[in-house]
């Protein structure tokens, strides 16, 4: 009896391996190998060989020590990047959940609004972003932009005015600063949450309608329905979104840019590899911590 069960288990695990096989091969060939090569680079000094290719010379931990001890701005950029990430991620996650719930209701022009919210995802391409930056400066009509800026500056109602007003009302400084930072970033937050909104909409739609019917029959209020039905059901996707937000934020952070510049402008591939590995390790650690925390509170069907 026991033996038979074991063989079924073994069969299932083989099937599992068959399912993940394509990825496993790809991961080993492209990622694992590349990662080992990168780790190797980070421990050596790279020089371009005569007639193409490159030479590596083993130097031990020298690149890491240089990054942390001697490099002008590595530590500072690293901490700012991680700090920004910790501020942005909860904001983006909650904002996108809220937006997804708004967009999931039926109302006129929903298709249009969804298309608009999806625009930032489409616009997120290098060539297009650069052009948009230019356009933002030119929005006020050709070269008259500068005069329009002067006009708006003289009206006297700006961010600083509101900060002072709320400061006088006695709102704690820290909270105020967080809110101000959030409002100032509203553009970034909106353009960074297109993907998350879509994932949440898909998640909300995959909740069986019968659950809401039951809640309604049992007399649950909208508030209770949210916390007892909607929230637990989208919980797995909150993890997906947190992971995506962290990664997306990281991919566009200054530290990655710095590693890129070090590799291709300063032609110091060893140092760049060391920087990339350190920052990747930190992000992985954050992800493991956050996901472990959420995962414990997540409900799965099985």
């Amino acid at each position: 009896m026991k033996k038979k069960k074991m063989s079924l288990m073994a069969k299932r695990s083989i099937t599992g391996y068959i399912f993940i096989m394509p990825w496993l091969v790809g991961f080993i060939v492209f990622y694992l190998r590349s990662l080992i090569m990168t780790a190797n680079f980070s421990l050596s000094e790279i020089s371009v060989a005569v007639g193409g290719g490159y030479n590596t010379k083993f130097v031990g931990l020298q690149n890491y020590l240089f990054a942390f001890r001697a490099h002008g701005s590595f530590k500072q950029v690293l901490t700012t990047s991680v700090g920004n990430m910790l501020i942005d991620v909860p904001l983006i996650t909650f904002f996108s959940l809220l937006m997804a719930m708004l967009l999931n209701k039926k109302f006129k022009g929903r298709t249009l609004v969804r298309a608009i919210f999806f625009l930032p995802v489409i616009m997120n391409s290098g060539a297009i972003t650069a052009a948009i930056e230019m356009s933002r400066q030119m929005l006020a009509g050709g070269l008259s932009a500068s005069s329009a800026e002067i006009a708006s500056a003289s009206s006297g109602v700006g961010m600083a005015y509101y900060v002072q007003m709320f400061g006088n009302l006695g709102i704690p400084r820290n909270i105020l600063e967080y809110i101000v930072a959030a409002v100032e970033r509203i553009n970034d937050i909106i353009s960074a949450s297109g993907v998350q909104i879509i994932i949440f909409i898909a998640a909300l739609q995959s909740i069986p309608g019968s659950m809401y019917e039951v809640a309604k029959i049992e007399g649950a209020t909208a508030y209770e329905t949210f916390w007892k039905v909607t929230f637990p059901m989208v919980m797995p996707h909150i993890i997906t979104n947190v992971v995506y937000t962290v990664v997306d934020n990281f991919a566009e952070s200054e530290i990655v840019e710095m590693a890129y510049d070090t590799a291709f402008n300063d032609i110091n591939y060893g140092l760049s590899s060391a920087m990339s590995l350190v920052s990747t390790a930190i992000v992985c650690a954050i992800l493991v911590l956050v996901c472990g925390f959420i995962q414990k509170r997540t409900f799965y069907y099985n």
């Binding site: 990622y31 929005l139 008259s144 005069s147 898909a202 995959s206 992000v283």
Partner: protein
């Protein structure tokens, strides 16, 4: 007595009507505000793409050009070789999308429903794959494809390793092996979706004698339509917009429209002698509108599916 009851009922109705009204007003304000933030640069782009030379330097012109012209679109279309490039790009990104959906859903399903040794470690590898910035590993990948020689097979048959660069083949190989553009993320999304589906579906299929592959393709994948559409949309859009891999693999710009738009300004100022950067910028705006439009149309079209698909699937009732 009866009258009082009625009026209470009425009051409740009025209260809920007010509540509904306030709610939709709130929603309206939020949506309009956010839409404005998203749209304002795009409005700028669209309106500038119609500006004539005179409008650009006229300080009185704000958003609405006085002498609108289609000239920008005409020239941008010629220089982008629009229809042909668009067709090729669509073919390229749609085929990659199809491969990606099949492979990533398979892998996600394997992780979600089967237990096997080292599963946790391997799934950790998926997360690592998402996290690693692609340019960390770009040099090794470049070298791999410049001297493509899987298990020494190429050397065995042709005597030398093959150079696969400057063709889309490397992209297809990477995508088919689950390592394409953001494949890790798609695997993750599929994994979460499959884990959320009730196990009863498969048990029922198993009891009815369906094979593993039949269960997967005909039952689970159909039930996962919301996630399939989500991933399909992302995959297509990102593939369409991607410039990183197309630069890395030196893929011809006749196949990748987003690569072509990056050089549009230079092409126009060199070939058509539009030397004023402010004016040649307008052609780029027109080009951007031309590049964005098809993908937006595809999204709006797919989105209907998105909603219908969900109502058909699932084990409601």
């Amino acid at each position: 007595m009866k009258k009082v009851l009625l009026s209470e009922n009425d009051r409740k109705k009025i209260m809920s009507a007010i509540k509904n009204f306030l709610l939709s007003l709130f929603r309206f304000i939020v949506i309009v505000g956010i839409s404005y933030v998203i749209l304002s640069p795009i409005i700028g782009i669209v309106s500038s793409s119609f500006f004539s030379n005179a409008d650009v330097y006229n300080p009185m012109v704000y958003l609405l050009p006085q002498a609108p012209t289609m000239e920008r679109y005409r020239l941008a279309m010629t220089r982008l070789d629009y229809w042909r490039t668009l067709g090729k790009t669509m073919l390229y990104s749609l085929s990659l999308m199809a491969v990606q959906v099949v492979i990533c859903s398979m892998v996600g399903y394997g992780f979600a429903r089967y237990s096997f040794p080292l599963k946790k470690l391997l799934f950790g590898c998926v997360v690592v794959m998402i996290v690693i910035p692609t340019h960390t590993i770009m040099l090794p990948i470049y070298v791999t494809f410049a001297k493509f020689d899987p298990l020494g097979l190429c050397t065995l048959f042709t005597g030398s390793s093959k150079n696969l660069l400057s063709s889309p083949v490397p992209m297809y190989i990477m995508t088919a092996l689950g390592c394409g553009l953001r494949s890790g993320l798609y695997i993750y999304i599929f994994n979460q979706f499959f884990r959320g589906l009730p196990k009863e579906i498969e048990e029922a299929a198993f009891v009815d004698g369906a094979s593993t592959w039949y269960t997967y393709f005909r039952i689970m994948l159909v039930n996962a339509i919301p996630s399939v559409i989500t991933v399909a949309i992302f995959s297509m859009v990102w593939q369409y917009n991607d410039t990183f891999y197309s630069k890395l693999f030196l893929i011809d710009q006749k196949i990748v429209i987003s690569k072509r738009i990056a050089s549009l300004q230079a092409t126009i100022s060199n070939l058509d002698k539009v030397l004023d950067p402010t004016i040649s910028q307008l052609y780029v705006y027109a080009g951007i509108v031309l590049v964005i439009l098809p993908i937006l149309i595809v999204y709006v079209a797919l989105q209907k599916y998105f909603i219908e698909g969900v109502e058909r699937s699932g084990i409601v009732g």
